[in-house]
Structure formats: C-alpha cells, structure tokens
Amino acid sequence: MAVEAARRPRKSGGTAPLQALLWRRPWLRAALLLLPPLGWFVVIYLASLGLLLITAFWQINDFTTQIEQVWNLNNFQTILLDPTYRLIIGRTVVLATAVTITDAAIAFPFAYFMARVASRRTQRLLFAAVLLPLWASYLARVYSWILILNHSGLLNWSMQSIGLPAPNLGYTNVAMWIVFSYIWLPFMIVPTYSAMERVPESLMEAAADLGARRWRAVRDVVLPLALPGVVAGSIFTFSLTLGDFITPVLVGGAGSTFIGNVVYSNVGIANNIPFAAALATVPVAIMAVYLIIAKRLGAFEAL
C-alpha cells in the first residue's frame, strides 16, 4: 500500500507539467495537433507538385529515353506552339465547361425543389436518390452508358422502334458530354442544395410583402444567394472533367483525346515524364484561375 501510494503522486507529477505547459501555451497545443497533417500535406502534396513543376523544365534524351536535367522551356514551347496540344487543351476545357453548365442547369431547379418545395420525407428520399449512384463504381456507371449509347444499344433501339433515325451517339464527343454530365451531377446538386437551404424563409416572405411574385423572388433573392453554391459545385464538375482520362478512353471515339490521356501515354508508354509534367501543369494553371474567380464569387463560403 505504501509503495502504491508513493507511486501514484509521482505518476501524476510526471504528466501535470506537460498539461500545464499546454494549458499555458495554447499555440503549442495547436502546433502539436496540426503538425502531423500539415507535415503530410507539405511533404506529399506540395513537394510532389513542386517536383512536377521542376521536372517539366527538364527533357528526355530521344535516344536513351533517360531524363536529362537540362533546364529548358522546350516542353512548354511544344505545348503552346503545336496545334495538336492546343486542340487537346481546347477540347478538354470546352467539354469541362459544357458539362459544368449542363449540370448547373439541371441541378438548380432540382436543388430548389429539394430545399424549398419538397416535404421533409420527399427531401430525404431525393437526397438518397442523388447520392445512390455514388455507391456504384465509376466504371460500372460508364459501362452502363456504353450499353445505352452504342450501335445496338437502348437509345438507337428505342428511336428506331418509334420510327426515328438512330442517333448513333456511341463513341463520340457527345457521348462523353452526356456521360460526364451524368457522373458529376451529384457533386453539383449537393452544394447547390445546401446553399439554397440556407436562404431564410423570411427573405422570401419579405420579397412577397414587397410585391414580388414567386419567380421574381427566385431570380432576385434565391439565385444570388445560391450562386456561391453553384460555383462551389462547378469547381467539382469542372476540375473532375478537366482531369479525367478514363471516360474518353471508354466512351470517346476517334478525336476524343483529353489532356489526361496525353499525360497518361507519355508517362506509361513513351516514358517522357518531363513532357507529361509540363502538360500536367496546364490543368493546374487553369484550375488556379478558376479558383480565383470562384473565390471572388464567394464559392468558398458555400462549401
């Protein structure tokens, strides 16, 4: 007993100064909490981005395909001057924009209904319905679209059954647009919905008191307040389309190459990592510009 009694105070005496220290110096507590994740972030994320940027200024020896650490701008020159890469970058950006606009156009009325019209029960059901496709694998969802769009697929079959010409959308850029819009739609609906849900009912009542009809109130009150949510969603739809390379391989046709496909083939097949790195900085730059605009529009308050 005496031994235990003697041991106990010593034990607590060992931890008390540390607790006291942490209590007296709150910054130390914060530092200890943040250091591991922050260190991880710096090492894994920023360091790899930094390496990417550095590699982009190197080149490979055409002959041995080994990386040569010679500083030059040749890779960027090729990307800017070769019409092939301008075409690929242009195609990727145009499709990402089209997908974003399509998703916003579908998500806005949907989210409005969910947030402001539907009953609590319907709202929950709709929310589950929006998230349900995310349970299935990405590949399964893309492949199911191939079954719909290909030559002997559901779409051609139904059109022909009612006497219309077959649209033959399989393996085209239109097919990519449809599939991307479908796949990323939940990422647009969720932030738009949460932004709309935050618009107080009192504002709508005030608008009504001031004589605004329903549509006027939606346009002048809900739309501006929900816009940050739409912009936040557009960050997802835009960046996810911008970086994708699987859907172009699966549903794209001839002339559906994306930035990601060129990066992939340069790393995996041609072993030209410097060029792949240079090309990979293009979506990074595009997203940086996009995020600056999104920040101006208040997207980050809606996340």
């Binding site: 490979i60 092939t84 195609r91 030559h151 097949i269 041609a270 072993n271």
Partner: protein
C-alpha cells in the same frame, strides 16, 4: 490459397507494345540483318547459365500475361507440374509491357523468377540487366522450335539467349462477314472512305508501322524495307496516310476487350486485331473472320525470361522445359488463340481443335516469317548504321497528333 492474383483484368498489350524503351545505340542492330556486327553486350552477358538443372526449390513466382499461366488448363495441368516438380506456382498477371518492365525492376526484385515478356519489352529488360542468359541445351524441345524462334533478334544478342521463345501471333485484319461477304485481300479496306465510321484500329503508335507496311507494297517509290526503320520522308508518308484514315475511324481501341465489344455491338465492321479477338467473337457466334492480307502483317513474339535475381532458378528451368513441350504448347495456343514455337505441337493442336494448326500457321515454312514483321522498338540508328531513322519518341508524338 489464392495462387493466381489477377492483376488488371483486361490485357492492354497492344496499346502499350513497342513502348519507348531504354534501348542502347546498338540494340537496333540486333535485327540480325547486318551480319558480322557485334552488338553492345548487355550487363548480364557475362553471367554463365547453368549446365544442369538442380532439384526444384519448392516455389516459382511468375509474371505473366493473363491466360499464360492458366489453372483451367487440363492436359497438362499446372497442378501436375507442381506435383511432378514440387514447385508451387504463383502467377501475377501484368496488364501491359510497361507493367512487366516495372515489376521486373531490380532483376525481379529477388521476388519474381520469370516473366512472359513480349518483343517490345525484351530489349528493355535485357539492357537494364533485369534478365540473365539462359541455356537452351537444358530445354529438350528447343531443337524442335521453328528456326526463327530459336534466336529471334528480340531475345538473342550476340548468340546469347536471354530467354526461351514461347508463342507468337500476327496482327490480322478482322472483318464482319455480313458486311464483307467477300474476304478483303488488302489492308486498303482500312483506308477506304467507303468504310467511314466502321473501322477500328489499336490506339498504339506502332500502327505507324502497319501503315508503313501497307505503303511499302502500294507506294514502292518510298523504298520502305523495314516498317520499324523509317526515314523522315517515309515516316511523314505513313503519318499522312493515318491522318487521312482518322475521319474514317470509329474508335481507336485501347484493349482487346474493347475491340470485342465494338464488333459485338456492330459499331465496328472491320479493323486490325489479334487472332484472340476473332476466336472470342466466333465462340460468341458473331459473324467475323480474319485474314492476313497480301501486304503481309506485323506480329508479336513472347519469351519466358529469367530474372537476374530469381530466387528459384531451378524451378524456372523446370517450368520452361514443361511449357516448351508439345502438349503444353498446343494447349496454350488453342486456348489463347496464338501459335506455338514448337513444331511438334501442330499435330496435337489438330487433335484438340481440327484445323487449328493451319489456322494459326503453326506448320508454316520458314519463308512465312518473312511476311511477318515482328515488333521491335524504333530507334534512331537504322540497321545500316546511319542515324536518319525516326526514334520511338517521335512515333509517340506523331501518334498523338494523328488520333487527336
């Protein structure tokens, strides 16, 4: 025991064939058409192969194409090999040549024993020192191999064998027999505007060689002799032809499975393929057939190669001996849809599937191999020593501009 770890399900081989390789200056001379030239020795050239096969080490770890180490094989079965030799077989399937090269880094990493590498990966593996010489005298069936495959330039350098040939196959012209009741005799159907939107070809820079092969027959003035060794003028002509072809192409197929679905759904009616696609589609009762057109064809050759740091070299030799025997050769050929290198397999193929020996050209005379241009990585130094040939990196770049 999950002894077969399926890697990626779809075999991406063609899409990544002839990948940019770490090829030394002299590797290009290894085509063997320049007699008397001694090529640069690979790092492992000095490693003496054994002269006898010792007792098995009890295990064997393989890197293979899907379907190359198949537990469903019956005669002979892998279980019987394990029982006879005591070597427990574990296979990892690789999806592409690049994956094979990556897995074999560090001489197999002291983990893997062998790899069933294809022609385009071979020189990379040899010149990076990841594989070591093998002694064909320890493989009794080696003497019955087709002469070409005893020392093909993609696995034999300066007379040293860096592996034992396994199977090969041509790249064929596959077509829908309903759309083409008369068998096409020329690769020209793939460049014919009448077939707009019905054509599919592999998404692979090596297609430039297929275009060059076609041009070598149709435009002799270009003087193309070897479709993997193109001067700027010849290369430009091939690229121009492929750019004219692009509006006609439905899709550049990334994997064999994709081409099979394109033909099944009717999206594609004619295209470049492997015999494997034809046999799969025929088994599914689809109206397809394939042919080697008059211009000839490109092809691939696979080799079992021994890792430099293989932990079970005796089991590796026992395996090579086993897989080179006529029965195993015939079985793999018929099930996979390719051609054995062992000439004694022909009769056994006939028993398993009548007509298959002739269908896969397993009984072909030596002259037949002049019509097949086996894959190799294009390098800057041409066979005659001049440096005017277009290297693979430019093939890659040109291919990107063609399909975009």
């Amino acid at each position: 025991m999950n002894t077969l770890e399926a890697g990626s399900g779809i075999r991406f081989r063609l899409a990544t064939m002839a990948a940019g390789a770490i090829i030394m200056l002299t590797a290009c001379g290894s085509t063997g058409t320049t007699p008397g030239v001694t090529l640069q020795q690979p790092p492992t050239a000095g490693m003496k192969p054994p002269t006898t096969i010792g007792p098995g080490e009890g295990a064997l770890k393989l890197i293979a194409w899907e379907g190359y180490v198949d537990r469903s094989w019956k005669q002979p079965s892998i279980a019987s090999f394990e029982k006879d030799t005591g070597c427990k077989v574990t296979a990892k399937y690789a999806g592409s040549s690049d994956e094979m090269v990556a897995l074999m880094a560090g001489g197999g990493g002291g983990q893997y024993d062998m790899v069933s590498a294809s022609g385009d990966a071979d020189l990379r593996l040899i010149y990076s020192g990841d594989v070591r010489p093998m002694n064909p005298d320890l493989i009794p069936d080696f003497q019955y191999f087709q002469t070409y495959f005893k020392s093909p330039p993609y696995n034999t350098i300066n007379g040293i064998h860096y592996g034992i040939s396994l199977q090969w196959g041509p790249n064929v012209l596959m077509y829908n027999t309903t759309k083409f009741p008369i068998k096409p005799t020329s690769w020209g159907v793939l460049y014919d505007p009448a077939n707009r939107g019905l054509i599919t070809v592999p998404d692979n820079p090596i297609q430039i060689a297929d275009a060059a092969l076609y041009l070598s027959a149709t435009t002799p003035s270009l003087g193309i002799k070897d479709p993997y060794e193109l001067t700027q003028k010849q290369f430009d002509a091939a690229v121009t032809l492929l750019k004219q072809q692009r509006p006609l192409v439905k899709k550049y197929w990334p994997s064999a499975g994709d081409e099979i679905s394109l033909f099944s759904s009717g999206d594609a009616m004619v295209g470049a393929a492997w015999p494997y696609q034809t046999s799969t589609l025929k088994a599914a009762k689809k109206p397809v057939a394939d042919t080697i057109p008059t211009e000839g064809a490109t092809g691939w050759g696979d080799t079992w190669m021994l890792a430099t740091n293989a932990p079970h070299p005796n089991c590796a030799y026992l395996w090579t001996k086993w897989i080179s025997a006529p029965q195993a050769q015939a079985q793999q050929a018929v099930i996979y849809g390719e051609t054995p290198v062992n000439t004694h397999a022909c009769a056994l193929m006939e028993v398993m599937s009548p007509g298959s020996c002739a269908q896969y050209h397993a009984d072909a005379p030596g002259t037949y191999f002049d019509t097949i241009k086996f894959w190799k990585t294009p390098v800057a130094t041409c066979n005659d020593g001049t440096k005017v040939c277009i290297p693979y990196t430019q093939w890659r770049t040109a291919w990107t501009s063609i399909i975009s």
